[in-house]
């Protein structure tokens, strides 16, 4: 049995790395006396996993965690208890108890991420035109730099699934994420620069990961989150 929860990593803790977040969660779970299950072996640690890492500097509004349990705990109680022991800046938003162990891992499940970008252009209309031009493309080949490996070209356009301007005039991109195709946030800008080459840099702190979703199990247009009933059902 386990708990799956959605949480926010807010601006004030955006500089905490993924591993540090994992340790912070583990310690908070221990402080809150939540009955988590430990790994076996030489170095027992709480069986806790998180969805895809956020880049250091970027806040996230809807991240996810899975925790294996040795005793049942209700979702609501989990939210309440853990929030008391988490530092301000990390907040559990909702959680569901799952009575079985037959869930796909978060990293295998989550395949969409929505990034909200503070536009580097002052002129909102120019931005709107740029987003439209991006949407109108059939293909946008960009180059991925890889550590210790050769650069590789790929079609960014095919991995961008929705482009919008938010009511506040910020740019919203729904992109592929995870092992079946992954867009790095800065690559969105690289793509936009193929259209408008003078587009200024956007530092990572001007990105926000608003949500993470599961598309391959969604029936209609509506995207499911990892907490959707359909996904938590035992298969």
């Amino acid at each position: 049995m386990m708990i799956r929860a959605g949480f926010a990593k807010k601006k004030r803790l955006r500089y905490i790395s993924h591993l540090e977040l994992l340790d912070t969660m583990r310690r908070a779970i221990r402080r809150a006396d939540i009955p988590g299950e430990y790994s076996r072996g030489y170095n027992p640690t709480l069986n806790l996993s998180l969805s895809q890492p956020l880049p250091v500097g970027m806040p996230g509004g809807s991240e996810y965690l899975d925790l294996n349990l040795k005793e049942r705990i209700d979702g609501e109680k989990f939210v309440q208890d853990l929030n008391l022991y988490l530092p301000a800046g990390i907040e559990i938003l909702r959680a569901k108890f799952v009575g079985h162990d037959n869930l796909k891992s978060l990293q295998a499940l989550v395949d969409r991420a929505r990034y909200i970008i503070d536009p580097p252009l002052k002129d909102e209309e120019r931005g709107r035109d740029l987003l439209q031009a991006f949407a109108a493309k059939d293909e946008l080949i960009i180059t991925r730099k890889r550590r210790n490996k050769e650069d590789r070209d790929y079609d960014l356009r095919s991995m961008v699934h929705e482009i919008k301007m938010t009511p506040e005039g910020r740019w919203s991109f729904l992109v592929s994420t995870g092992s079946r195709g992954h867009v790095r946030p800065q690559e969105i800008l690289q793509g936009l620069r193929k259209i408008e080459s003078e587009l200024p840099e956007v530092p990572i702190v001007n990105f926000y990961r608003e949500g993470m979703y599961v598309s391959h199990m969604s029936q209609d247009d509506e995207l499911l989150t990892p907490l959707a009933e359909e996904i938590l059902e035992e298969r």
Partner: protein, 626 residues
């Protein structure tokens, strides 16, 4: 003022490890700035992950914050990239809690824990917008105070500090903080405030003393006015059970050097190794009771969520109840996946058995410090370990499944000869052979034997029996290292050493006098900082600064006469100088001095009534009763 963090917040993604600068950790104490009378910032002259591993900071931080009228915040040295950002943005160095610039505080308290961090202190003051030299500070500048393990020779830093606190600061920091504000509220001139503070026990105001030199050598330090005390007595807390101890320590996000709960179980060590400064300045050895330890352990684990607790002390195994403490902790936390770690193990098989009882799960490496390669030299330094003890410990370690043994040795110890280095090589080889032999016997149980040999150059420190000894030249030390390098080879043995030039610099600062102030100042002005990081140190800067002041390291690190006046003679560490002289004499003869807790009094001078005298008195009483 309070907007300082907003100015750089969005730019922190450009610096390495930005989490060093954000604070906001669990158990951090952030008080309302305007609700308290006294505002103190503890400053540590190294980066966050080093400073946050320092127990003294944690104790003082939580002690000060435990008082309603005081707030205490933290600041660490920025790494170079962050320094650049602060300077580019014209932003002052700020505290982690309320993000206030250093100039907003009443008092900045620096930890003196390592000689090569001194230039970093100057840099932090400068980044904080505070005049680096005490004489340039006005009434509005915060009071700059220093304390810590190297405060026992503060002379190279006297230009930069308004005052030092000699000894364990828990014993006096609260009254010092309150007294300062009281005097400041009377609008007294800064010099008068300092003079009045100098009356507090343990407080040393360097500007009230003047040094004299005779033909290029230090010849004495004298009070400059009436009513200035001649000597400063170090302060200490008598009872660890009664003393404040933080049971809600800050839990950093960053993977710091000692990333676990630290519980101090005793303070001080009376084994009397003649090279060890802490073994003198933290006398008498004091133990926390088992009851207090268990209570505090429970509270720390509950409040932090750590899964590892380290029982810290200069010498953990010497705690008289250590076996029961470990057994009880094991019992208490059997089901909670909490591991117990014991740093600083002594070399004997009791230690190994103890280590076995705590490291039931993680059996990777075990560390021993024989320090010297032969019995003769171990007797000179009073390291009470025999080769038999050592080999028995090693055998026990291998038999119990450890395959990696780390060995600490020192070179350039007083009285060292070639045969001692040969003895070191011999001891290492014997260790490897024992390991391989045991491995052969139970091949499947054990990974290949690894012996990691770590050699440091001995640095004579003030208030030790070796405070009069010379350090060798760089060439001589390098020759010794080369010899060890050529002998300590083979697949099972790895050899690591530290830069002898770094040790010589450390030695110079450790035994320096006031003339080194301008050398440190000049090195800092030329860019010296974070010099504890070997890749950051530039010896050229030191050479140039010394030349400019017409000084050389040899003036400070060569042999001194035991009757000569020493720059730190005005401080009284508790232990008497006569004891140090006797220990110095005994070292040549290889005469050991046993720990007085299990033997007769060595008359070091630290107790009003020596321990063994008490025993004798008790026996007397018992006899009288008969």
């Amino acid at each position: 003022m309070a907007r300082v963090f907003e100015k750089i917040d969005d730019k922190l993604h450009g610096v390495s490890s930005p989490e060093r600068y954000i604070g906001r950790e669990w158990n951090m104490k952030k008080k309302d700035w305007n609700e308290v009378e006294h505002r103190v910032c503890l400053a540590f002259p190294d980066v966050y992950e080093i400073g946050m591993s320092h127990l003294g900071i944690s104790i003082l931080y939580h002690l000060l914050n435990s008082r309603d009228d005081i707030l205490c915040e933290r600041v660490f040295s920025p790494w170079k990239d962050m320094e650049q950002l602060l300077r580019d943005e014209n932003t002052g160095l700020f505290s982690l809690e309320n993000k206030r610039e250093l100039t907003d505080f009443d008092i900045i308290g620096f930890t003196l824990q390592y000689e090569l961090s001194y230039t970093t202190i100057l840099n932090m003051l400068d980044l904080g917008g505070i005049p680096v030299k005490s004489e340039d500070r006005s009434g509005e500048s915060p009071l700059i105070i220093g304390g810590g393990s190297t405060v026992f020779n503060p002379e190279p830093l006297t230009d930069f500090f308004d005052l030092f606190f000699i000894g364990e600061a828990e014993a006096g920091i609260i009254s010092l903080v309150r007294r300062y504000k009281e005097l400041k509220n009377q609008e007294l001139p800064r010099a008068e405030i300092l003079k009045r503070l100098s009356g507090i026990a343990g407080v040393y105001v360097p500007s009230l003393y003047e040094a004299e030199y005779d033909r290029g050598d230090f010849s004495g330090l004298f009070p400059t006015g009436d009513g200035v005390k001649e000597n400063i007595e170090r302060q200490f807390i008598e009872d660890l059970d009664e003393a404040f101890y933080p049971t809600e320590p800050i839990v950093p996000y960053m993977d710091i050097v000692h990333n676990r709960a630290a519980l101090e179980i005793s303070r001080g060590c009376q084994r009397g190794c003649r090279f060890c400064a802490a073994g003198i300045s933290y006398r008498p050895a004091r133990e926390k009771s088992k009851e207090t330890i268990l209570k505090q352990a429970g509270r720390i684990i509950e409040s932090t969520g750590y899964d590892e607790i380290s029982l810290t002390s200069l010498n953990t195994v010497d705690h008289s109840q250590i076996e029961e403490i470990v057994a009880d902790l094991n019992e208490m936390y059997r089901d909670e996946k909490i591991s117990i770690s014991l740093p600083s193990l002594r070399v004997n098989d009791f230690s190994v058995n103890l280590a076995r009882s705590v490291q039931r799960v993680r059996r990777s490496g075990l560390t021993f410090a024989p320090e010297a390669g032969t019995q003769r030299l171990r007797d000179i330094i009073n390291k009470g370990v025999t080769e038999e003890d050592y080999l028995a410990a090693v055998r026990a370690a291998f038999k119990n499944g450890w395959h990696r043994i780390k060995l600490y040795f020192m070179i350039d110890l007083p009285g060292e000869r070639e045969e001692d280095l040969e003895g070191m090589v011999d001891l290492v080889q014997k260790t490897a052979e024992i390991g391989s032999e045991i491995r052969k016997q139970n091949r499947k149980e054990m990974k290949p034997v690894e012996i990691q040999v770590n050699v440091t150059t001995f640095v004579p420190k003030p208030f030790t029996p070796f405070q009069w000894k010379a350090m060798s030249s760089r060439q001589e030390i390098e020759k010794k290292i080369e010899y060890l390098q050529s002998e300590l080879r083979g697949g099972r043995i790895s050899f690591d050493w530290n830069d002898p030039e770094l040790s010589r610099l450390e030695g110079m600062l450790a035994r320096g006098d006031r003339r080194l102030n301008e050398v440190i100042y000049s090195v800092w002005r030329e860019g010296g900082r974070l010099e504890g990081w070997s890749e950051e140190i530039d010896y050229e800067l030191w050479q140039r600064a010394l030349n400019k002041s017409d000084l050389s390291p040899e003036q400070f690190i060569s042999e001194r006469d035991t009757e000569e006046r020493l720059p730190w003679d005005h401080l009284l560490p508790g232990v008497e100088k006569q004891f140090l002289r006797e220990e110095f004499e005994k070292s040549f003869k290889g005469i050991p001095t046993p720990d007085c807790r299990w033997s007769e009094c060595s008359f070091c001078g630290v107790c009003d009534t020596p321990h063994s005298m008490i025993q004798i008195a008790e026996q007397q009483v018992m006899r009288d009763d008969d």
